[in-house]
Homo-oligomer: 600 residues x 2
Amino acid sequence: MSETLLSSRNLAFELYEVLDAEGLAQRERFAEHNRETFDAALGTARSIAEKYFAPHNRKGDEHEPRYENGQAVLIPEVKPAVDAFLEAGFLNATRDFEAGGMQLPTLLSQACFAHFQAANVGSSAYPFLTMGAANLIESFGSEEQKQRFLQPMIDGRFFGTMALTEPHAGSSLSDIRTRAEPAGDGSYRIKGNKIFISGGDHSLAQNIVHMVLAKLPDAPPGVKGISLFVVPKFLVNADGSLGQRNDVLLAGLFHKMGYRGTTSTALNFGDNGECVGYLVGKPHAGLSYMFQMMNEARIGVGMGAVMLGYAGYLYSLEYARERPQGRLPDGKDPTSPQVAIIEHADVRRMLLTQKAYVEGAFDLGLYAARLFDDTTTLEDATGRQQAHELLDLLTPIVKSWPSEFCLKANELAIQILGGHGYTREYPVEQYYRDNRLNPIHEGTHGIQSLDLLGRKLAQNGGAGLKRLIRLMAETGARAQTHVSLDALRVPLEQLVARLQTVTLGLLEDLVSGKVTTTLANSALYLKAFGHAVIGWRWLEQAIRAEEGLARGEAADRDFYQGKLQAARYFLTWEVPGCQHELTLLEARDDTCLAMRDEWF
Amino acid sequence: MSETLLSSRNLAFELYEVLDAEGLAQRERFAEHNRETFDAALGTARSIAEKYFAPHNRKGDEHEPRYENGQAVLIPEVKPAVDAFLEAGFLNATRDFEAGGMQLPTLLSQACFAHFQAANVGSSAYPFLTMGAANLIESFGSEEQKQRFLQPMIDGRFFGTMALTEPHAGSSLSDIRTRAEPAGDGSYRIKGNKIFISGGDHSLAQNIVHMVLAKLPDAPPGVKGISLFVVPKFLVNADGSLGQRNDVLLAGLFHKMGYRGTTSTALNFGDNGECVGYLVGKPHAGLSYMFQMMNEARIGVGMGAVMLGYAGYLYSLEYARERPQGRLPDGKDPTSPQVAIIEHADVRRMLLTQKAYVEGAFDLGLYAARLFDDTTTLEDATGRQQAHELLDLLTPIVKSWPSEFCLKANELAIQILGGHGYTREYPVEQYYRDNRLNPIHEGTHGIQSLDLLGRKLAQNGGAGLKRLIRLMAETGARAQTHVSLDALRVPLEQLVARLQTVTLGLLEDLVSGKVTTTLANSALYLKAFGHAVIGWRWLEQAIRAEEGLARGEAADRDFYQGKLQAARYFLTWEVPGCQHELTLLEARDDTCLAMRDEWF
């Protein structure tokens, strides 16, 4: 049977040949695990995703959540799906055994979750958001908050959301207006309006725990005055039973182009002055809490983009193998049978491009997940610190690169299906619509580019960047032992060498106060940096493929040849093209910056 | 009041400063016309588009045509819109005065029609298809066919379609199976199934005239055996009155991602063996007829893509001017007011990119329309022939370039609106969905690339290509008189010089029989060639802008500065990047061609 979510051979390649998942199982925290337990978890994820999530993916799109009597009503298929997800323990995949978790590495948790994202990104968002909210409370909440709100989330009885955006403050969180007044009893009264809150209402769980950014009366202006609050839909009594409905009103639903299975809500907090919230951690530290947990969320968003690309790639591959159309340029005899369209060079180009994008981004997403594991389970503090620095640096790429290029993959999948791909009778157009959200939410593409160039590069004295360059050089050195990889290695080395020079120049400009001009072309930098990172990951994959070929398992020959060809595509068709971005960056080109409002 | 369809200043620039529409009015055929009559027609188009087409654009998307009792039912707003269009004479804009037309140049007709495409591409498709069908009969039909079918189309009583695609034959028309058997009375009996027939059923007109490709019993195999037939929905009696319903069955509707206002149908011809059709022109010559009229249709499709891009650009520009969000990198004081997002360099980049794409493609589309006028109204036969050759060469670019890059513009428009852009409360997501059809219909992107590289370049001994190179050189020479344009001119000249070398090499390879390898990278060639063409058109626009600045009309300064900046963007940010495509083409890179089915 053909695979529709992701290639299990490729997943095994990533886990066991590239990212050394078995090495993780040597660490104390994961000592109970081994390749079998990993594969068992993956198998369960796949079967639940196929059985409960995939079948209603189209229905969730066609019947988006409705607003009825102040509530958001979802199609009935969502609840059994998330129940099966909870039942199998995926919500707590990384949590301690004794807390009811599976104590899996984040690498495996992300790999499991990828199946749900590929099957139905809309429905999988509900548990995804709950995991994010739960992790926030786990990291920064009080013992009482953990008992009252986290434990029911772990138990699957409460779900969660992140409530950041306001009508006048999306990217600019500095300007949020939601207020929190001390009520005298240790709790707060929240007042304000939030929009685009995913999963902001539903009846999948007994309660919904909103993680709300708001400002205290004595808050300093800007981001340094943002605090984080737990605001439940229903109050929770001391004994854990549900109390009265909190003053959180579902003001309306947004109607999106895609990702329709996930309800997007406008929520009014405290219209009647009675919205109870609880401060998480210290006052005015809310944004830093959010950022600390955002690494995991942004890997998740990036992986979501990857998996939409992946599902579209696999579907268009299958279609291209089965759809006869036309003849090859050198065999135009009209009485000869038509060939499958995969035989056409341009269709093969579109498939190979998709493969290079989705498998390159898939590798990076899992690599980032493994780095996350290093930040928590490496024995030496230096190693943990290094992993942290590198992950911080890579996060804007992990989030933005798939959002751009796996969306492009979806565009190509539609093209391969032609007129059929444009109809709602086939799934690829929905993947394309769904994926268009990813460059917007969890920090827009523009925000990611500023985060990379304006913040992450120089963080910790550029430690993350230095480590990345070192790792790239190591990969290059290993690649040198395979002469066949020279043509792939050299373009990457050329790009990286020049990128280093350009980066140093830009950082110097930033230090010397040329902030506006330096950041103006952050989009160019994001593109070149991202391609260097994905190019590095492809060179790494190519080395592993050469090693696999050298082992000589006949059954895997085709798989490894495909890896080498996709690596060749990315490193010779895509990577050298970024020299042009570097030329513009070197020149400090001001074409866009110099454009004026009145000239448009 | 801000303009939502297109910039009338830019349209005037194109018509009167770049493309010399007034020069056309000097020609005998257009002697009754002048700038005032042109502007009157444009004004009428704009006001009908704004009044009748734009208001139901979203409704047409939300309420796509329904299948009821064997008929396609549209929302009621479509008929008054197309009626107003017909009433104003736009269906016959280019037709002779004495045939009831406006005898306008095609340049003006396209410029008028652009307003309807920007306002509502779905509803404007019905008259668009009717114009195409009418032109086919006008060019190749018998006198009787003209009287029976063309005249009622001119009168607006009959509408038309093009019925080419079949379930197993989309791009490969060679393989169509629809048959036409002589009935003995001069007519034929048609039997076969067609899919994706736009406008294939509706009740906007008394009758629908399908232009159907089918094969006669004695047809040679392949494309040389395709004939063209008129197949009306209702038979037409000798006196012009409607006869009985023909054996054409609406088998079903396709449900698309966008472009939903245009019904896409599956039609069964001759299920009961009684489908009457009439041969147009000679047997087996149908495809050449289709191709001869396709220039105009492909300009129309290209312009449709442009106008969707244009509408999205204008909307996002307006939004960016009004939406406050964040502060500039060097002014982070959180107590200062937020700035309009157009102040952010990356937003300006996205707006400038859109401007460069849509105004570059808009210029090319109108330039092509003007070439079409030259093919019919230039006095000397050589001039007409030259125009024909150049238009033939440019047609794949006119069709494909906007389909790719104005879609990209729509993607950027969504990004500028952020979360709002992703909702159906704003129009930009619909433009994006609508525009995704354009790289597919009227010859896919891949087909256009093969048409360019495998056919058009070498046609007539490369006469079109030579003429294009000469025109580009002329533009370059004129640009040299403006030192300020050097930085724009040089990258184009560098690209074009190398493109010429690469082209010669590829053509030599084709001649020497290396067909498969040469055509394998046609997508790269299409990109580089297309960017050279649009770059040339931008340099032309930049010269006109410099001339405008030199005239010194103060009111126009900003407009011309904007033109120069968009030209600078395209020629320095986009054009040099295509050197990479040429490198791959020069190397005869076989990365995609060498990929094998079993390696995926």
